[in-house]
Symmetry: C2
Subunit: 204 residues, 2 copies
Amino acid sequence: MSPTIKVLLAEDQSMVREALAALLGLEDDIEVVAQVARGDEVLAAVREHAVDVALLDIEMPGCTGIEAAAQVRRSLPEVKLVVLTTFGRPGYLRSAMEAGADAFLVKDAPAAQLAEAVRKVLAGERVIDPTLAAAALAEGANPLTDREREILRAASDGSTNAELAKALHLSQGTVRNYLSTAIQKLAVRNRAEAVRIAREKGWL
Amino acid sequence: MSPTIKVLLAEDQSMVREALAALLGLEDDIEVVAQVARGDEVLAAVREHAVDVALLDIEMPGCTGIEAAAQVRRSLPEVKLVVLTTFGRPGYLRSAMEAGADAFLVKDAPAAQLAEAVRKVLAGERVIDPTLAAAALAEGANPLTDREREILRAASDGSTNAELAKALHLSQGTVRNYLSTAIQKLAVRNRAEAVRIAREKGWL
DNA sequence: CGGCAGCCATGACATCTGTCATACGCCACT
DNA sequence: AGTGGCGTATGACAGATGTCATGGCTGCCG
């Protein structure tokens, strides 16, 4: 039989991370050789442990799993990348694919799919929930410009226009213009809704 | 040796739930006898499987783990309750304790603490992160009235005053008054910040 | 080169939001 | 019986927010 598959697990919540490790540990052909809790530790760990497949949560301190995936893809293109996330947001799927992910799994899916996905990506297959893929295609690309996204993100904690203007070195009017166009593009009525919708779609 | 400890696992994300089950399955003295994905299925499952310890995630469809805990505590007071959550919000800890929980764990904690907590609550101990306990005490109780909470919750999706007034059968002025007092109590400057802070503290 | 998109800004306007004073009814506690 | 807290409501005011028209600057693409 072929040697075991070396897997890295990147997930910030220890309990979940170790539980997933226990789950994968039940598989004979899979070995979890490294665990990290931060996105910015992924690349070094992948390199150090000669990892075959990296399992990356999206929401992590340091940097997101998607950014980490892009880093690994650039430096070590032969490593397979599985992105794992709580939220099945179409925009996340899109960004993950653009970052070079081989699989995209939501934590809602049955646990069996995890080991399954690891084996499949190693065999050169791609693993994507078809429902999500359809949603991602149906929704189209992110309509927001970089600046609009940045300002929306900054506004998401309830900052006022004056604070945003100061923080971003803009005039208040400019901030309002950006927010206004973002509100129109997202077809909503105020910044709070705009933030919510953009979040839901994974556009923030 | 005593018979195995019968545990119920309530957590909406299958992958996490099954991973936690795998983790607990590694312990000789613990047996996961039931798994549910919704808060409103907890009570029936606990009853049916003669569960010793119920492990409850807070964020679940149906009803929250805290509400489920309260139900179990009322009907089957001898069952031990462990509340498990992603967010270490002091307000959550407080509500969990008021609902009769025996332990409160955050998913950030090392996985070993899970089995540990199961054994301890069965022995009659309480398990609470001392840092969180201190934070919960330092922060004081939720200053918001029922109505203020309700309106803040309704406002959290970006609804306008007119929509809130219609949805809650109130006058617009009343809605604004409630939001205004909530804003003052939370010492913030607008509804968006109020929603954010109340969420963070677990007061929503 | 010309056009278009993105970035930045201003001013004016309408509307929404947050504050304050005030008031009434209800309920619980003293 | 009085007090205080909560829920509800109104009206008035100031300030924040969203929209629109308009303009200048840059850089990319055809």
